[in-house]
């Protein structure tokens, strides 16, 4: 497996459980963000990052990641990670940072963080964004590459989906579109395997809100643009299972590598990826029948087997991560025909489906009972005393990829082997200083000095930053008026 930089951005949902709670979800998000920075876990931005990101809207953390407010959601961006264990550890560290803040504020019984991607009542949706650093040679103007990636992303939901009850029935996604003919009648959907499938109307597009695409083509490298491309995907679901998240990111990385090597098979391309995405997600029998571009019928499972075989042929032995992914991928595809119970703890939709169907049998209720929607949400509750996923973990059914000890460490320490390490050093130093600063993913600037650039995400820059900081007067008070020349 090629060296990769991975990152995950999570937009958290906030459930205000207590009827008369003094704050609404947006106020709660603001206060939790403020609490995290008041506790000196990071440094707030002193500058505008965008029109809707004023100073104080968010900031970088001592672990190299970021917490900020975005479109009414509290969002955590993991630091750049160079392997899957670090990625899962630092993703979970974000969950722990926000949950700990909730508990410290004394609100953990009245408010819950829900790590999902859809409001089941209003169908508002919010994202889990995956970031992969690839070489600049990965061509985005080669539509065959993008179609191959789309075929993979559409079919990976059979193990990467987090599942949801009900559906967001068709709306014309774009003013110039009709509703798809076959979807004009309201489909009755009890359960689907993906949270996001109903919200992705395009195969390729660069927007990140509403007109979302299976392959987001926004070109924002956050690194040296002559060497790298950052593939920023928003098609996937937030995972509760560490195994599922590692498998999702790991298989996607392998698929990108097959494309980069030029060995991805064009016969894998789907006839209509957008419709296929929703058809797979909504299939009540989990047959996941699909049609390829050449008209050949097959299934999502078979297509994934083909991709796995190519991965084994070209990438086996290339790294310990690649070998873990190939073995885990094969184990899941092998067990998939056995049904959801065989996948508990490794595939989120399957865990959720099993829990909900067991509950329905026990309580003699059906899919349309509002309790089922509420349980769907509770699967994603980050509070370990209540959340259903944590019940599976307590039961020994969670397949872990990291440990609680490592997650605690990652709440305040940056990952090694990437520029996040240097950034973490910078943030820890700034927490003790008065100097003015401007920090971004690609570098920083202190007072009126020239910017310190960190264009290569594979370089930690830690020693250089330590040396740079030693030369600076870090007690010079911040002069906001004259800082941004």
């Amino acid at each position: 497996m090629k060296r990769r930089i991975y990152g995950i951005e999570t937009e958290y949902g906030l459930l205000i459980k207590e009827e008369d709670f003094k704050y609404g979800p947006i106020d709660v998000a603001v206060r939790i963000k403020n609490h995290i920075f008041d506790q000196k876990q990071g440094v707030l931005d002193l500058h505008y990052r965008a029109n809707d990101e004023p100073p104080g809207n968010g900031g970088f953390l001592a672990n190299g990641g970021r917490i900020y407010l975005d479109m009414g959601h509290l969002e955590y961006a993991s630091p750049e990670c160079s392997n899957l264990v670090d990625l899962i550890t630092f993703d979970r560290a974000g969950d722990e940072i926000v949950q700990k803040a909730l508990e410290e504020l004394g609100w953990s019984e009245q408010v819950a963080f829900i790590k999902n991607n859809v409001d089941l009542e209003t169908n508002a949706t919010f994202g889990c964004h995956e970031n992969y650093l690839v070489s600049r040679a990965f061509q985005f103007d080669n539509r065959e590459n993008l179609r191959l990636l789309a075929s993979f992303l559409v079919t990976r939901q059979i193990y990467a989906g987090a599942g949801r009850t009900g559906a967001c029935n068709p709306q014309p996604f774009r003013d110039w579109d009709d509703i798809h003919q076959t979807r004009k009648d309201e489909e009755k959907v009890n359960f689907q395997i993906s949270q996001r499938a109903d919200h992705i109307p395009n195969e390729f597009y660069r927007w990140v809100q509403y007109n979302r695409a299976i392959v987001n083509t926004r070109d924002e490298q956050l690194s040296d643009p002559s060497k790298y491309r950052r593939i920023h995907l928003l098609v996937g679901d937030s995972n509760m299972s560490e195994f599922a998240c590692a498998l999702k990111m790991g298989t996607t990385s392998l698929m990108m590598e097959l494309i980069e090597l030029g060995v991805a098979n064009p016969e894998w391309i789907l006839s209509n990826s957008v419709d296929t995405m929703r058809d797979i997600s909504r299939d009540p029998e989990f047959k996941w029948e699909i049609t390829l571009r050449d008209g050949k019928p097959t299934t999502a499972l078979e297509l994934q087997w083909g991709m796995l075989q190519a991965g084994k042929k070209y990438l086996a032995g290339s790294s310990s991560d690649a070998d873990w992914v190939l073995e885990a991928w094969e184990s899941v595809l092998t067990d998939m025909p056995k049904g959801p119970e065989a996948l508990i703890g490794r595939v989120d939709w399957a865990s959720k489906y099993w829990l909900l169907t067991e509950f329905m049998k026990s309580e003699n209720v059906g899919w349309q009972d509002p309790w089922i929607k509420s349980l769907d949400l509770e699967f994603h509750n980050l509070n370990k005393a209540h959340g259903l996923y944590w019940g599976l973990e307590a039961n020994g059914d969670a397949h872990r990829k990291t440990s609680d000890e490592a997650i605690r460490f990652a709440m305040s320490s940056a990952p090694k082997g990437t520029r996040a390490d240097g950034r973490g050093e910078l943030v820890k130093t700034l927490l003790e200083c008065q100097t003015g600063y401007l920090i971004d993913w690609i570098g920083f600037r202190l007072n009126k000095e020239e910017p310190f650039l960190m264009l290569d995400p594979f370089v930690s820059y830690k020693k250089e930053i330590q040396e740079y900081l030693r030369r600076m007067d870090l007690q010079e008070p911040f002069d906001g008026k004259n800082y941004f020349r």
Partner: protein
């Protein structure tokens, strides 16, 4: 690689799939822990989904 760094230790320990046993079994009505999970589920407010008022994000 520093041995006192729990992340590094974890990475080394967890470099292969987590379970090496025979894998999950076929459906079993008496799956261990099922009753505890059902108890946890019964405590959930049946109407809490109506209280979840989120804005569309990205």
């Amino acid at each position: 690689m520093e041995m006192n760094d729990p992340l590094r230790r974890e990475e080394k320990k967890e470099s292969t799939p987590d379970r090496k046993d025979d894998g999950p079994s076929r459906p079993d009505v008496s799956r261990p822990g099922r009753d505890d999970l059902l108890k946890r589920m019964k405590k959930v407010d049946p109407k809490q989904s109506e209280k979840y008022k989120q804005r569309t994000g990205q």
